[in-house]
Symmetry: D2
Subunit: 341 residues, 4 copies
Amino acid sequence: MKKLNIALLGLGRIGKIHFRNIAQYFPMATVTAVADPLGGGAFAQQNKQVFFSTDPYEVICRSDVDAVLICTPTSSHAELIEEAIRQKKHIFCEKPMDLSLERTEALTAMAKGNVKLMIGFNRRFDPDFMQAYQSVREGKIGDVQIVKITSRDPGLPPIDYIRNSGGLFMDMAIHDFDMARYIMKKEVVEVFAKGLVVIDPAVADAGDIDTAITTLTFEDGSYAIIDNSRKAVYGYDQRLEIFGSGGMIQVENNLHNRNVLYNESGIHQALPLDFFMDRYSRSYLKEMELFIDALTNGTHMPATGTDAIQATMIAAAAKLSMETGGPVRLEEIKRKSVLTG
Amino acid sequence: MKKLNIALLGLGRIGKIHFRNIAQYFPMATVTAVADPLGGGAFAQQNKQVFFSTDPYEVICRSDVDAVLICTPTSSHAELIEEAIRQKKHIFCEKPMDLSLERTEALTAMAKGNVKLMIGFNRRFDPDFMQAYQSVREGKIGDVQIVKITSRDPGLPPIDYIRNSGGLFMDMAIHDFDMARYIMKKEVVEVFAKGLVVIDPAVADAGDIDTAITTLTFEDGSYAIIDNSRKAVYGYDQRLEIFGSGGMIQVENNLHNRNVLYNESGIHQALPLDFFMDRYSRSYLKEMELFIDALTNGTHMPATGTDAIQATMIAAAAKLSMETGGPVRLEEIKRKSVLTG
Amino acid sequence: MKKLNIALLGLGRIGKIHFRNIAQYFPMATVTAVADPLGGGAFAQQNKQVFFSTDPYEVICRSDVDAVLICTPTSSHAELIEEAIRQKKHIFCEKPMDLSLERTEALTAMAKGNVKLMIGFNRRFDPDFMQAYQSVREGKIGDVQIVKITSRDPGLPPIDYIRNSGGLFMDMAIHDFDMARYIMKKEVVEVFAKGLVVIDPAVADAGDIDTAITTLTFEDGSYAIIDNSRKAVYGYDQRLEIFGSGGMIQVENNLHNRNVLYNESGIHQALPLDFFMDRYSRSYLKEMELFIDALTNGTHMPATGTDAIQATMIAAAAKLSMETGGPVRLEEIKRKSVLTG
Amino acid sequence: MKKLNIALLGLGRIGKIHFRNIAQYFPMATVTAVADPLGGGAFAQQNKQVFFSTDPYEVICRSDVDAVLICTPTSSHAELIEEAIRQKKHIFCEKPMDLSLERTEALTAMAKGNVKLMIGFNRRFDPDFMQAYQSVREGKIGDVQIVKITSRDPGLPPIDYIRNSGGLFMDMAIHDFDMARYIMKKEVVEVFAKGLVVIDPAVADAGDIDTAITTLTFEDGSYAIIDNSRKAVYGYDQRLEIFGSGGMIQVENNLHNRNVLYNESGIHQALPLDFFMDRYSRSYLKEMELFIDALTNGTHMPATGTDAIQATMIAAAAKLSMETGGPVRLEEIKRKSVLTG
């Protein structure tokens, strides 16, 4: 069987994770080419069998490339996706495809029927969340009525990052919007969101919020509640609670260790894993497995452009809801998209 | 020191709890008289030193009564409070004072300066929640930004009860609205609520909902999120999570026992206590201690008419929000109350 | 139905617990008489319907007494039991019956066929341990192979107490020896024990140890391991683990509250209940319920003189094992008892 | 800096783990040669840069080999260690060095001053246990008095394996004996062990036991209690509890996932990881890191021949204790070893 040849665009933290995961775990795939503005440096030295370039377009065009992994900064995603589609290369793109809903829709439409496209909503592929998804599908808690997502970062990113991130809803909560849709397997019809700045006034100066509450209403009337904070002093807080007619599932945090200390002042445990690459190391591995599997075995692509569109619409609705003070129907966002698109 | 003489109005489940708690734990107080439509029966036989009557008004008037405990059905609360105020008897009244906000306000105003009035928002006095309150006051989690309250009953009450309860927000969630104000020590300015019927269509026929999500916004922009269900198959789910700039506090459920079973299918624990009188037995005791303490030692009355007014306003706002589909400012409710009152 | 009339001998902490529990929870029984060297004082004032005396023998003889609760210091137990047997009064006696195995055997034999005798091995009646017992009986973990008991006190008792207590094995571990027999429903055949002094050298001066490890071997070859310490700085540590062919049961400590605090330094919970009367409040209630039930309804007496004999033999064997350095067969203790008895 | 060249002897499950870990995580080391009776097969095909042989002696001798990893069956360990010492190659050897205490001592003496020798007591390097070790060293629980080790396998190995394993104490409990010494940082002076067969009579036919209880006494009088079973139906149970004058540390199992399911029958969690290569995956990685570090940076070798000798002596003492029925001093084992050695 022919190996799948992959080009990696962007050799940052996440690009390196994908590179190593493919090398170690997926013998049916190889990274044959890498593009990075810095050219690869020591990494290129250690991987001499791989073609390195500073030009992603050069890499996308290569005949020994079947698929591309787009791990570059967000602002370049759309153009790289377009080029990959033109060159008939399958695509794995880190989220978001683009900050604009219209362009996300256009890219998805462009890919359709031409290449396979997967979006890196990696949290879906965390084994703990996949287990919850599985249990829900097996009917273990009956009909789901309420999903509660706690999603708090361990600290503020640099203000410069915030300024260009698209804002908390588009940059951070979008993972949770995708998670809510994933767990419910239903579409959102209404969004109500509140947001404020309590961590650092510089966030407000950058035009963003750092704390938010979002209520999603699904097509059947069921709900998701999401609370976000850019700073939980106790670490990276990523929990899920799913309540249904037959019971409840909670997904707890993964702690640094499983030691419990009893002393005169109380019972003490270690904090949750606080670095996203530790917390979600297995989800990065799993999403690559599923991407490669979809291309080599024709299995279902597990997070698509449609998912990106829906999550982006919810994020846009959340932002609009916060600004207008009232709930926003997703149809309004769709209509606007059509009008301005 | 003179003993505090107490009259008990209503000898239902909760009335009996107060009677027994006073007899066993509070030597500085005595129940000297009891009114109940059934006259007391066997209970009267076992407590011959107590005066029993079928007429609450006869009991309120007695000269050997310093304070009354109103544990009768909700519909009679307002008139009994009025009579007690007229007779200059201090009052402990089970929640709610009245389903009408106007009357709640009027009764509170009438009591003011005349008698002391405590409302039975018993959950405040649960030791686990009091510990959370205490930790917040001591600054253990810094400035509070988000309170999340999970409040789910183990099963639907009779539909007849629902029909006359004032609805889920007024009957059930009102405890949680009070809890949110208690923990935050701040006032709510806006309410957004969603509700639906998923447990039994008969609930809809009775004009009520059985599942709800409520977002409260406080005066400083912080939030409370409350989710309610009339039926959690795994028991009575009463949890709290408080997130602040310095950390988080979770209050977990109290389980039936502390046994953990490991077998081939998993690790298993007992369910949460599922009967409210078990779950909150200590809160009933504590609220009576504080009521007696306030009357005998002049300490602060810990849950007042003002608390009832505020919780009732939030419940009214939640109902209105659900009906109108948008957030409701508490000021609107106040204004309406003034207009109609 | 005739009420059961009970005399209480000894009005210390534990005597008062039984008095109050009977008054509040067991309408089919009444404490009609109390003996205490101090005469009862304020307690007598508050309970004028009860006969008070400084002389236990006067109380035992009264015709309005059906049963006695012996809650006096250990040194007086044997003589009071004898007198009660002579007077044909049923007996509930706090453990131990006597520090001497021979006398324990003699008293048990003397009671047999004359009066009913229950020994206050209260821990058996803790709801959490009863649940474990029940689960084992229902076969939930198959054949039991290993029982592990953790039993650590929150602090050293006064050295004077230790001097007269019979030693750690007879005074403290005896509860655990009884628990092991209760859970296993089998008899112990061999004991191996180690002990040392690490908390306070004064314990050694008083002829005792403060830390111990005991291995019990049951008749079928299965084991119990017990570790004891007089001082766990984190409170009163009372846990159980039962391992069998079909699984494992753990009984965890009951904590002061169910709050969990997350902050920069970790995840923190409250300590276990540290006062034995809090930790075992429900077991005192349950044992009295079962005692009264056995007398009024003829149910099985749940902790008997035979249990006291067995636990005392194990304690004696543990002491001998520690002294001789090798395992001790229970038969050796029995033989010695016969020889010296 | 020159790379460390490593030869791998034995390409079973554990050999492959070391191979992959070195390739992925340790750029300062390379596996240059592999010996396996089957020659490597597909594995050799995928790693063409590596020299493969069926003869371990050929591999040990190679000039491009600085160190050897001995991952062959136990019976060959001693001869391969001897050859490696003769060839001046540093050694990492899976436990045990040899089933005979005398030979373990002789090999350790032979290595001394010639080559560096590490023994694969991998559990020491599990991050959770290392954290416990670290906390103890930092004085977080004061002076340690009792260590309790629970070590239960998820199922019986093949009877043939048992027949040649050296027995439960030498094969399985030896890990726990090493753990006890590691945590206490003290030497054992006395061993008392009990064992029985309850899982399968075939174990008895093979001359072994399947369930055991061992009490170790350390030089300062403190204790370790170890309970072993070859079959815990709920998975691989690997826990630690350390009790000291200042508190207690518990190391809990690592579960399959962090989902909690609440339904009508209870609260349910996933079982502990049940395959030793999952449970201890990080410990295999860490031990290799420390081995390579010791050779390339001259750091301390963290598990040595002396550790193997001590653990083997404890295992021998445990076996003798079980056979004789009484406690065995480690000095007796040493003396015997000298006599027979």
